[in-house]
């Protein structure tokens, strides 16, 4: 039960992030909002990191530099998400976003890109994506 509550609140916070960023962008601009929200998030995470010390610093050296810079994608994610929310609202934005996200993950998994273990797309995954797209069409009826 506790796990379900954490997952539930976690999901709420992810959407809240998008909504808050859209709101803040209206006032100070989208790149500004993305910069500020990630700066304060970075400072908080750093404070927690210094407290829990979960990482082995040497670990970073073992990671391909491409993957280390993946965080930079967030700038474009926030910009696109915020602009989408302002154009088509939260529900449609999150729906389209999740479809593309799951689809991308499964393209990577089924092709074994970036050295991930290759996995086959099976019928349930095709049906799932189909249902999600159908859902978006219903939203727009």
């Amino acid at each position: 039960m506790k796990g379900i509550i954490f997952a539930f609140i976690g999901g709420a916070c992810i959407t809240l992030q998008g909504v808050a960023n859209a709101r803040i962008s209206q006032d100070i601009g989208t790149w500004q909002a993305a910069t500020i929200t990630q700066l304060t998030g970075f400072i908080m995470a750093l404070a927690i990191l210094l407290f829990v010390r979960d990482g082995k610093k040497q670990g970073f050296k073992k990671v391909n530099p491409l993957y280390l810079t993946g965080g930079a994608l967030a700038a474009f994610i926030i910009f696109s998400e915020v602009t989408a929310i302002q154009h088509v609202g939260v529900t449609l934005t999150i729906s389209a976003l999740l479809i593309a996200q799951l689809f991308m993950t499964f393209m990577i998994d089924s092709n074994g890109w970036f050295g991930v273990v290759k996995q086959k797309m099976r019928l349930p995954q095709f049906i799932g994506i189909g249902m999600m797209i159908a859902g978006v069409l219903i939203l727009k009826l």
């Binding site: 997952a7 959407t15 601009g29 810079t69 993946g70 967030a74 989408a84 939260v90 389209a96």
Partner: protein, 167 residues
């Protein structure tokens, strides 16, 4: 309309890509090391993009409200919740609930027109649409991929647990 949907699709594809990259970092470090790095990189990239597009105008913050400074805390809350949920429920089940909750709250906040966003009136189509999408997520995530496939999915999901929240 169409531009909004295209941008949302781009954002989603990038989230999927970033989750993979973050999980690669997470394999060698820890959740908080990964989160700190990812947010730091995102901060630098946003700052650079702002400077390129607006020059020093980037630093004029009109109508700045004090609470805007604390919005980053939400992202940290996401990581805490996802790490705990994954530990307690297993990754696949946790992610299925997270995605469902994301959509539910999207619908709620649209219909409330919360935070000064344009109100999207709630109607039956929207409820039905969201329910069908949630059904799709559940089939996609929990639908078997063969015995071995199911285990692999769970293992891959587990690695990506924290990655979800750090965008």
């Amino acid at each position: 309309m169409i531009i909004g949907i295209i941008l949302a699709l781009v954002a989603g594809a990038l989230v999927g890509l970033q989750n993979i990259f973050n999980s690669k970092v997470n394999e060698h470090t820890g959740s908080w090391s990964t989160t700190t790095l990812v947010l730091g990189m995102g901060f630098i990239a946003s700052l650079i993009m702002g400077l390129i597009t607006q020059g020093t105008g980037m630093f004029t913050l009109q109508h700045m409200q004090p609470w805007y400074w604390f919005s980053g805390v939400i992202g940290v809350g996401v990581v805490i919740c996802l790490v705990q949920a994954t530990k307690l429920l297993g990754a696949t089940f946790a992610i299925a609930i997270v995605l469902t909750s994301q959509l539910g709250f999207a619908l709620l906040w649209d219909s409330l027109g919360w935070m000064g966003l344009e109100k999207v009136p709630f109607n039956l189509n929207q409820l039905l649409g969201v329910l069908v999408i949630v059904g799709g997520i559940l089939v996609f995530k929990l639908g078997g991929r063969g015995e071995k496939g199911g285990q692999e999915t769970a293992a891959a999901d587990k690695k990506r647990q924290t990655a979800l929240g750090t965008k």
